[in-house]
Symmetry: D3
Subunit: 164 residues, 6 copies
């Protein structure tokens, strides 16, 4: 009963006894896959201005956050218990200053050629880039919030559905 | 000029040439410190119901997310480039079903006795718990969003300020 | 002399001077491979009963041990010096209460499509699941023993032999 | 009811709702602590002889297993979900050939000065040393078994009891 | 302008806005690739003699350094921010005593079948083997220097050029 | 005999049977400790100029290398088999363009308050910063060499000697 329900509904990380497992992807074809995730960090305008000014000569705050995102994407399978370890062919993290937020918009694009998708890698990259921005500005601002982390595009795999 | 500005404003991860560094905390006293962070994942009500029903017999989705948060907190200094490696004395992750969201409310409490605070550990725990919930439900729902990740309490250190 | 001996006998991690190396698998065909390992943890019956009763409402002890096993399998090549890093397509850890032992029976199944086998991944999953059960019950019982860790099935590769 | 039971019985990794947590050790005194664990790997006598002969000139099999045990002890808190990250002051792994087993006896001694004990570090060192011996001999022998992993001494902490 | 310059010159880790990224290798063919790197550690002759004599019965210093090199090669993508995670088919580290240096010559050979090369893995293996030799002899000698770390052979990929 | 020799000479990573161990530092006092290491990467002048020009707008090459050095310092005990895991209070990596080399001069300063020193952390930071510079310029230049990695200052501990 419950099993049928789960199978229909697709909670594929739970096996037919409701227990956690890393699902078997060995029967899936290897295809080019890409996922794009985004998110943002909201902060006081004065914090944003301090980063932008302090940042101007060297770009370190933004670069540090980008690198943290890229490196975290490569650690996704170590961080998320039921994710498959995958080769990754491309990881790009973009961070844009948004004075209207105010804060930063973060976007991560991850590509691979594998049996399963990379949206968790993209989401992990966005999350760690945001946390790193937080870390570097937290002495200035105790009220920052990380928001809107979501997948905005996923290609490859059957009918573009999330099947990892 | 820029240096004076940075010193006054407190972008302590940037040294006086605007470059990234892991700030020296050796002069700080060791005190009991605690940080609490929260966040949430929003999903379709049908997704929430599927998890809650499928979850009933074993609790695996929620437990998996909690453990991912706890384990990620212990990895914080490896994930966030300029964070100090710290001993951690307590990590607790709580996840509550919220039918009004609909989705889950996540809260992490981290404690230590150290020269610097643990808000990044608490934020990292919340973020990875949320990402793990996402991972386990993503076959059901492509529109989930992770939101509202913020620090809600920080004690210990000078005047309760963020000084890591 | 010694070299010939080693070649015949198959101590393939030692090269012809008796030194450690990670053996070259690039000439091997990529095939579907699977390994199953098992093991057990023996404890006082009162410990087992405490876990089973305390465990009932949330399943946390067993789930935590399973997840530790799954996550450790993904770390095998970082933990065992001469293991090859491999993609993994499936990891399943099963833990059964055995009142006759008394204790828990643990079984791990790992699958991949690669040049070399995954028995070390399966054995690592069993070992860390057992260690995690130990960790969670050690306040109750100082006399637990982990036993009988072995490979019970290995398929794929030439003549089903261990050739990693 | 269940809570009282757990408190009395000491399943300290479960909080009063039966959920997993990393227990708070901040109230505990820092003391010198030491733990010794042991285990063994059983193999065919011919396998043991092959290792001992091949091993003679360089000692690589045994040294590799010792180092794997030492390095794994340092990773314990990353591998076992609810273990505390601790400084470690000493890690020693001893491996003795036992022709009567036949196989190898493994013993690990770990020391620290901390709020909680190091038996999990000692058990992890023994387990990974045994797995590494398995890995290095598996081309010779498909019937090896890892056995008898247990704590044989634990000092430091209140009344020498396991309280991590 | 700058972009064209970069494209011509090949600073492929910088995208057309001069920002860090992990370059997209998904369009590249999978080929057999191999890289060999070398380096050396220079020390006092008396240090070298102490290691060689102390080392004789067990070979531990050299074996420890080799294993550190092999294990580090497998961590390359976690250590070097813009490196791609790759399967590795072979890792060999050789360390030779050189009384004329005096010190040790280190050489690492790494092989894979992938879209991009493995020279960073070979260089990382040499570097960590050298650092481990340093660590094991540093109580004897404060003047050791690690030198001459370079790639000496790279095969596979287009026209044997470095394109990772 | 051999043991006495080793004890006198100070190969403290080898115990009295010549085997690898992580030495016991629990009897040592906790003191403020600092180590500074340096090294350099030599490259073609045209490569240096390309980096400096491409680098101007964003500083990414240098920042990426600095961050890689800082993050690697935090991983030292995972990378070097017999190093003790330590809290780190300060990590600074400086990279200066040297047109006379031509190439980059790298310097790392690490501080802690612990029972043992941090020269391996400083050397590891320099090594990984150098490897990252190599990685980012390798498409331009196949003849780069990493050189002169050494400790230039070590304070704290008994008589400023290396005793880790």
């Amino acid at each position: 009963m419950a099993q049928e329900f789960l199978e229909k509904k697709g909670l594929t990380h739970l096996n037919n006894r409701g227990e956690a497992q890393m699902v078997d992807v060995s029967g899936k074809p290897i295809t080019q896959r890409r996922a794009i995730a985004q998110g943002q960090i909201r902060m006081a305008l004065s914090t944003l201005e301090a980063i932008e000014q302090g940042n101007a000569p060297k770009g370190d705050v933004i670069t540090t956050a980008k690198l943290a995102g890229i490196m975290a994407a490569k650690q996704t399978a170590q961080l998320i218990p039921l994710c498959h370890p995958l080769p990754l062919h491309k990881i790009q993290v973009e961070i844009e200053c948004d004075r209207h937020l105010p804060g930063y918009q973060i976007r991560a694009t991850v590509g691979t050629k594998a049996e399963t998708g990379v949206e968790m890698e993209a989401l992990t990259a966005v999350s760690l880039a945001a946390l790193t921005l937080y870390d570097m500005a937290k002495a200035l601002d105790k009220t920052m919030t990380i928001e809107g982390i979501q997948v905005i595009e996923k290609t490859g795999g059957q009918s573009q559905t999330s099947d990892k």
